[in-house]
C-alpha cells in the first residue's frame, strides 16, 4: 500500500503546489520541497529497513488493486531491489530538482511544480508498474509534463525542442503499445486468460518471428528513451533547451526508464528474441558510446556537450544489457545511478552558469576558475566522473560493464568500446579548459556557489564518491533481481532449468559463457588436471 501512497503523495503535492500559487510564489516551492523530502524519507526508510535475506522470494513490497477487470487490467505495483534503487534515485534527484529550481523559475511557479511532481509520479509509476497497461499509462504520463517543462520554462529554442521530444517519444510509445497489445492477444489466445499482468505474461509462448517483431516495438520505445544512435537526435535539443530541473530529470531519470524497461520487460518477456537482437544491440551500443563522445567533443554549447556525453554513457547500458552477463548487468544498474548523478551535476553547473552569464557558449567563457573556484572544483569532480576516473562511481559502472561484456561473445566490440577512455578524456578536459582555464575572454563579475547550491553539489559529490569507494551498497541491492533476470534469459537459451534465487557462486561465475556452454567448473577441472600432469611430469 505504501507504493500507492507514494504516487498519491506526489500527485497530491503537485496539485497542492499549483493551488498554493494563488497566494504566493514561495508557498509552492516549500510545498514541493516538503513533498519530495517526504518521498526521499520514505525510500530511505524502505532501503534501510530492507532485509536482504528475503530478496529471493519475489517482491519486497507489492500491491494489487482492481482497475478495469473486464479487460484484465489491474493496478499492480511491485518493488524489488532494482526498483527500490530506482526509487531512491528518483526521490533523491527530485529533492535536488526542487532545490535547483528555487531561484531559476520565476514565472508560473505553481504550475511548474505541478508539472515537476506529475513527471516524478509518472517516472515512479514506470519503475513500479507490474501491469503492462499501467506501465504504458505511466510511460505516457511522463511525456506531457516534460513537454510543458521544456516548452514553457525552457531556453530560446524551446518550442522546437519540446515538439521534437514529444514526437519522438510519442511515436515510439505507440510502437510499444502495439507490442503490448500483440502480447496481450497472443497470451489470451494461448490460455484464454486475457490479462496485462506482467507475471502472467512472462513465459508466453510466441512464434519466433512474431516475438521478434513484438519485441522490436518495446525495444524501439526504450531505445529512443536511451537515446541510442540513430534514435538519439531528440536528446541534444531537449536537454539543451530544458530548464535545469528538466535537464536533470531528463538525463537522470527519463533516460533510465528506457534502461529499466529493457531490463524489466524486453528481456524477460522475449528472451529468445533478445538473443537474436543482441549483436545488433551491442553494435549500436558501441556506436553510441563512440559517436556520442565524438560529438560531445565537437560541441560549443555547454549543455549540448553534456547532452552528447549522455548519449555516450547510455551506449554502455546497451552494451551491458545485451551481453547477458551478471557482471555487466550489475554494471548497468550502477551506470544508471552514477550517470544520473554525474550528468545531473554537470547540467546543474551549466544551468547555474547560464543563470549568471546568460550564455551557454563555451567561446564566451574561460578563466572562470579565479572567479568561481567552488564551481570550478565541483566542475572538475563531475567532469572527472564522466570520463570514468576511478574513485568516482562511474568507473565502477564502466569497468563492470566492460569486463563483464568481455566474458561474453562480443570481445572485439568491447575492446573497441574501451577506446572511449581516450575520447572521453578529450571531451572532458575540453570542458575544464574552455570554462575554467585560460584567460578570461569576457570580464564576468559573478558570485560563486551559494549555500543552497553548495548543499546540492556536495550531496551529489558525496554520493558519487561513496559509490566510487563503496559500491557494494548498491550492488548488493540489485544482485538478486539481476541474477534472476539473467537466468531467465539464459534458461530460454539452454533450455535447462536452473534453481532460481539461490546464489551459488559456481553457477554464477560462468557469467558470459552461456554461448559456448563452458562453465567455470569445467575450466577449473581442466586447470586442476593440467597442474597434476605438470606435477607428475
Amino acid at each position: 500500500m505504501i507504493l500507492v501512497w507514494i504516487l498519491i503523495l506526489l500527485i497530491g503535492t503537485g496539485l497542492l503546489a499549483w493551488l498554493a500559487s494563488r497566494w504566493s510564489t514561495f508557498l509552492p516551492k516549500l510545498i514541493s520541497l516538503v513533498g519530495t523530502l517526504v518521498y526521499f524519507g520514505i525510500t530511505l526508510w524502505l532501503w534501510l529497513g530492507h532485509d536482504s535475506g528475503i530478496d529471493s522470494e519475489g517482491w519486497i513490497i507489492s500491491y494489487t488493486g482492481n482497475w478495469m477487470p473486464s479487460f484484465g487490467i489491474q493496478f499492480k505495483l511491485g518493488m524489488d531491489g532494482l526498483s527500490l534503487l530506482m526509487l531512491l534515485l528518483t526521490s533523491f534527484l527530485s529533492v535536488i530538482c526542487v532545490l535547483v529550481s528555487w531561484k531559476e523559475i520565476k514565472t508560473r511557479v505553481g504550475f511548474f511544480h505541478f508539472n515537476l511532481l506529475l513527471e516524478l509520479a509518472g517516472i515512479t509509476g514506470v519503475f513500479l508498474a507490474l501491469d503492462l497497461f499501467l506501465f504504458y499509462f505511466s510511460w505516457e504520463l511522463m511525456l506531457v509534463p516534460m513537454y510543458f517543462l521544456i516548452s514553457i520554462w525552457g531556453h530560446e529554442d524551446r518550442i522546437y525542442a519540446g515538439k521534437k521530444f514529444f514526437l519522438f517519444t510519442q511515436a515510439s510509445g505507440l510502437l510499444m503499445l502495439l507490442g503490448i497489445l500483440g502480447l496481450y492477444f497472443i497470451h489470451g489466445q494461448n490460455t484464454d486468460v486475457y490479462t496485462f499482468d506482467y507475471e502472467q505474461l512472462l513465459g508466453t509462448v510466441i512464434p519466433k518471428g512474431t516475438a521478434f517483431i513484438l519485441m522490436l516495438g518495446f525495444v524501439v520505445a526504450f531505445a529512443v528513451k536511451l537515446s541510442t544512435v540513430p534514435l538519439h537526435s531528440w536528446l541534444p535539443d531537449a536537454h539543451t533547451q530544458a530548464p535545469t530541473a528538466g535537464s536533470v530529470i531528463l538525463a537522470g531519470l527519463l533516460l533510465k526508464t528506457g534502461a529499466y524497461g529493457l531490463i524489466r520487460f524486453a528481456l524477460p518477456l522475449f528472451p529468445e528474441a533478445s538473443h537474436q537482437l543482441a549483436p545488433l544491440a551491442v553494435l549500436l551500443g558501441v556506436i553510441s558510446i563512440l559517436y556520442g563522445a565524438k560529438l560531445a567533443f565537437a560541441q560549443t554549447d555547454f549543455k549540448r556537450l553534456v547532452a552528447y556525453i549522455s548519449v555516450s554513457h547510455m551506449g554502455f547500458i546497451l552494451l551491458g544489457i545485451y551481453s547477458f552477463n551478471e557482471m555487466a548487468m550489475q554494471g548497468v544498474v550502477m551506470q544508471m545511478i552514477v550517470h544520473a548523478v554525474s550528468t545531473g551535476a554537470l547540467f546543474i553547473i551549466a544551468g547555474s552558469l547560464y543563470d549568471r552569464i546568460h550564455t551557454r557558449d563555451l567561446a564566451q567563457m574561460g578563466g572562470l576558475w579565479r572567479q568561481v573556484p567552488r564551481m570550478g572544483t565541483m566542475g572538475l569532480v563531475f567532469v572527472m566522473a564522466s570520463m570514468g576516473l576511478p574513485g568516482l562511481g562511474n568507473f565502477i559502472a564502466e569497468i563492470l560493464i566492460l569486463i563483464g561484456s568481455y566474458q561474453g561473445p562480443f570481445k572485439v566490440l568491447t575492446i573497441i568500446a574501451t577506446m572511449v577512455l581516450i575520447t572521453a578524456t578529450a571531451y572532458a578536459l575540453r570542458i575544464i579548459q574552455k570554462v575554467f582555464y585560460e584567460e578570461e575572454r569576457k570580464v564576468w563579475v559573478i558570485p560563486d556557489f551559494g549555500v543552497r547550491e553548495m548543499i546540492v553539489m556536495l550531496s551529489l559529490t558525496g554520493v558519487i564518491l561513496w559509490l566510487g569507494w563503496y559500491p557494494s551498497s548498491v550492488l548488493r541491492m540489485s544482485e538478486v533481481p539481476v541474477q534472476k533476470m539473467i537466468q531467465e534469459v539464459r534458461m530460454s537459451k539452454s533450455g535447462e532449468k536452473e534453481e532460481l534465487g539461490s546464489i551459488d557462486k559456481n553457477t554464477v561465475y560462468n557469467g558470459g559463457d552461456f554461448l559456448n556452454e563452458k562453465s567455470m567448473d569445467v575450466k577449473k577441472e581442466n586447470q586442476a588436471q593440467k597442474i597434476k600432469s605438470i606435477k607428475t611430469e
Binding site: S233, E326, L402, I415, T418, E439, Y509, I534
Partner: protein, 623 residues
C-alpha cells in the same frame, strides 16, 4: 607497527582534504605546514614500518575493506607490502617530502598556493596507492589518479593556453596506455577469475604456456600501459611538454611519481612478462631505442628543463632495458638512484630559473657557480651521478650494472649493450653541456637572490644520496656488496648470467668509465667558457629534427589529431539529425502543397471535382 601501513597512504589524503576544505581560511604558513607535514609524517611512518619490515620480509597484506564483490570480481581496498613496494614507498614519501618542503618556499608568492599543495598531496597519496595496491583494479585507481594529478599540476598556471595544452596532452596520451591496460584486465579476469596480483602471478605459469598467444597479448597490453605512463616510445611525446609545470612538480613527476609507474607495473607483473619472452624482449628494445632517441634530443635543447625531461625519458629507457633483460634488481636500483639525482637536478634547475627571473634558456645564463655556490655544488654532484662518473658517484654503480647486464644477462645481447654504452656517452655529453652552459662562462644575467633554507636543505640531502646511495650495491670485483639485489630478490627473481670470464666484467667496467670521462672531456672542449650568444641557438635541419624530439609530434598531429578534429568539426551538427529534420521538412512541404488547394475559390473546387470524376470514371471503365 606494520598495521599502520594504511596510515602512510591516508596521511597525504588527509592533508589534501584539510587544505581543500579549510585551506582558504588558514594562514599561508599553516597551509604549508599541513601540506608538507602530511607527506613528511608519511615518510617517517614509512621508515618505522620499513624498519620493522626489514626484520621479517615476508609480504604483508592489509585489507582495509572489500571494495565490491560481483560474481567473482571481488577486489579489496587492500595494501600489499613486500620488498619492491617498500622501495617505492620509501622513495615516494622521502623524496616527496623533500620536494614538498622545497615547494613551500618556491611557491610562496603564488596565488594558488593552497590549490598547489592539495594537488601535490593527492599526487603522493595516489602514487602510494599505485605501488601498494594488492589488486590490479585498485592499482588502476592510483594509476589514473596520478594521471589526473599530473594534468592538474602541469596545467597549474592555467591562464596560459599552452600550459593547458601540455596538461591535456599529458593526460590524453597516458590515457591511451591506460586503455590498453584496461583491456589486459578483461583478459586476466577471464583467465584467472580474479584481479588479485599475487594470485595471478601464482596461477599464470600454470595456466598459460610460455609464449602462448594470450600470454603475449596480455604482456603487450600491460606494456602499452607502462609506456604511456613512463613516457617510452611511442608514447613519450607528452613528457617534454609537461615542463610547463612548476619545477617542484617536474621533480615529483620525474623522480618519485608518475613516470616510474610503468617500471613498477612491469616489475610487479614480472611473471607475465617471463612467460611472454617476445614481450619481454620488446621491453628491452623499447628501452634501448628510447634511451638513444631521447638522449639525442637532449643534446640539442636550450631550455634547461627540457634537457632534464629528455634525460628522464632516456634514463627510464635504461630501466626498461634492465626490465627487458630480466635484471629486475638493477632496474629498481637505478630507479632509486635516479629518483635522488633527478629530483635534485630539477630542484636545482628550478632554483636557477627562479632566481634568473623565469629564464629557461641556458644560453642566457652562465657564471652562476660563484653566485649560487650551494645550488652549483649540489647540481654538479647530481650531474656527475647522471653522467655516471666512475667510482665516486651513485649513478655509476646503478647504471654500470645495467650496461654490464645488457651484455652479461642470458637475455642480453651485444646490440643492447652497444645501445646502452652509446647512451651513456650521450648522457654524459648533454649533462655536462648543461652544467658548463649554466654555471660557467661569462655571466649574462644577475640572479635576484639566493634561495633560502627550505630550498637548500632538500638540495643538500638529495646531493648526499646522489653521492652515497650507490655504495649499498657494489660490483663483484669492487667490494661485492649486494644489499639492494638481496632485498629485491626476496620478491623478484635474480638475473641469470651467462658464464663469462671474471675479467670480462672488469674490461666492460673500464670501457664504460672511459666512455663517461671522454664524454665529459668533449663537453668541456665544446662548451666550457665558449662565447655563445645569449639567444636561442641556430640549428640546421638535422639539429632541428633532434630538437623537436624526432618530430613525433608532427607525425601524430598529422596522422591522428588533425583528422580527428576535422571529423568532429564537419559533423558538429550531427548528420543523423538531418534525416529527421528532412522528414519534418517533407511533411511541411506537403502541408504547404495541400493547403494551397484550400483557396476558397468555387471554380477551383469545381474543376477539381470534375477532374476527379473523370479520373475515377476512366479507371472504372478502362481498367
Amino acid at each position: 607497527m606494520k598495521d599502520l601501513l594504511w596510515l602512510i597512504v591516508a596521511l597525504p589524503f588527509a592533508g589534501a582534504l584539510i587544505l581543500a576544505f579549510a585551506g582558504g581560511k588558514l594562514p599561508r604558513a599553516l597551509s604549508a605546514a599541513v601540506g608538507v607535514g602530511s607527506v613528511s609524517l608519511s615518510a617517517i611512518l614509512t621508515l618505522i614500518v620499513g624498519y620493522e619490515f626489514l626484520g621479517d620480509t615476508t609480504p604483508y597484506l592489509q585489507v582495509v575493506w572489500q571494495w565490491f564483490d560481483v560474481y567473482g570480481l571481488s577486489p579489496n581496498i587492500g595494501f600489499h607490502l613486500d620488498t619492491v613496494s617498500l622501495i617505492f614507498i620509501f622513495i615516494i614519501t622521502f623524496v616527496g617530502a623533500l620536494i614538498h618542503l622545497y615547494s613551500a618556499e618556491f611557491m610562496w608568492k603564488e596565488e594558488g598556493f593552497v590549490r598547489f599543495f592539495v594537488f601535490m598531496n593527492l599526487f603522493v597519496g595516489l602514487m602510494l596507492i599505485l605501488v601498494l595496491a594488492d589488486n590490479l583494479l585498485f592499482l588502476y585507481l592510483g594509476w589514473e589518479g596520478v594521471g589526473l594529478c599530473s594534468y592538474l599540476l602541469i596545467g597549474y598556471w592555467y591562464k596560459d593556453p599552452k600550459n593547458g595544452y601540455a596538461a591535456r596532452k599529458a593526460f590524453i596520451v597516458t590515457r591511451i596506455g591506460d586503455a590498453a591496460l584496461a583491456v589486459s584486465f578483461y583478459i586476466l579476469f577471464m583467465s584467472f577469475n580474479t584481479l588479485n596480483i599475487q594470485n595471478i602471478l601464482m596461477e599464470a605459469p600454470e595456466t598459460w604456456t610460455v609464449g602462448s598467444g594470450i600470454a603475449v597479448a596480455t604482456a603487450f597490453l600491460l606494456l602499452g600501459g607502462a609506456v604511456g605512463k613512463s613516457a617510452q616510445l611511442p608514447l613519450q611525446t607528452w613528457l617534454p611538454d609537461a615542463m610547463a609545470a612548476p619545477s617542484p612538480v617536474s621533480a615529483l613527476l620525474h623522480a618519485a611519481t608518475m613516470v616510474t609507474a610503468g617500471v613498477y607495473l612491469i616489475a610487479r607483473t614480472h611473471v607475465l612478462f617471463e612467460i611472454a619472452p617476445i614481450a619481454q624482449h620488446t621491453v628491452a628494445i623499447i628501452g634501448a631505442a628510447t634511451l638513444l632517441i631521447a638522449g639525442m634530443s637532449a643534446l640539442y635543447q636550450h631550455d634547461i628543463k627540457k634537457v632534464l625531461a629528455y634525460s628522464t625519458i632516456s634514463q627510464i629507457g635504461y630501466m626498461f632495458l634492465a626490465l627487458g633483460i630480466g635484471a629486475w634488481s638493477a632496474a629498481l636500483f637505478h630507479f632509486m638512484i635516479h629518483a635522488f639525482f633527478k629530483a635534485l637536478l630539477f630542484l636545482g634547475a628550478g632554483a636557477v630559473i627562479w632566481v634568473m627571473r623565469d629564464e629557461h634558456n641556458m644560453f642566457k645564463m652562465g657564471g652562476l657557480w660563484k653566485k649560487l655556490p650551494i645550488t652549483f655544488w649540489t647540481f654538479l654532484i647530481a650531474s656527475a651521478s647522471l653522467s655516471a662518473l666512475p667510482l665516486i658517484t651513485a649513478g655509476y654503480y646503478s647504471k654500470d650494472k645495467i650496461i654490464w647486464l645488457a651484455y652479461a644477462s642470458d637475455k642480453g645481447s651485444k646490440g643492447l649493450w652497444l645501445a646502452a654504452i652509446v647512451g651513456a656517452f650521450i648522457t654524459a655529453l648533454y649533462t655536462f653541456r648543461m652544467v658548463f652552459l649554466t654555471f660557467f662562462g661569462k655571466a649574462k644575467a644577475e640572479p635576484t637572490h639566493r634561495p633560502g633554507w627550505m630550498i637548500t636543505i632538500p638540495l643538500v640531502v638529495l646531493a648526499f644520496f646522489s653521492f652515497a646511495g650507490g655504495f649499498i650495491e657494489l660490483p663483484d670485483n669492487m667490494g661485492h656488496l649486494t644489499l639492494v639485489s638481496n632485498f629485491v630478490e626476496k620478491t623478484l627473481p635474480a638475473t641469470t648470467l651467462l658464464s663469462l670470464q671474471p675479467s670480462t666484467e672488469l674490461i666492460f667496467q673500464i670501457i664504460s668509465a672511459v666512455v663517461a670521462l671522454v664524454a665529459v672531456f668533449i663537453a668541456y672542449k665544446l662548451f666550457f667558457n665558449k662565447p655563445f650568444p645569449a639567444a636561442v641557438p641556430q640549428r640546421n635541419a638535422i639539429q632541428q629534427f633532434f630538437f623537436k624530439g624526432w618530430d613525433f609530434d608532427l607525425v601524430y598531429d598529422k596522422l591522428i589529431v588533425e583528422p580527428m578534429v576535422f571529423l568532429s568539426k564537419i559533423n558538429k551538427n550531427d548528420i543523423i539529425d538531418k534525416f529527421y529534420t528532412g522528414l519534418a521538412y517533407i511533411a511541411r512541404q506537403l502541408n504547404v502543397l495541400l493547403s494551397a488547394t484550400q483557396n476558397g475559390q468555387l471554380r477551383w473546387y469545381a474543376m477539381i471535382i470534375a477532374t476527379g470524376a473523370i479520373l475515377i470514371l476512366t479507371i472504372i471503365f478502362f481498367p
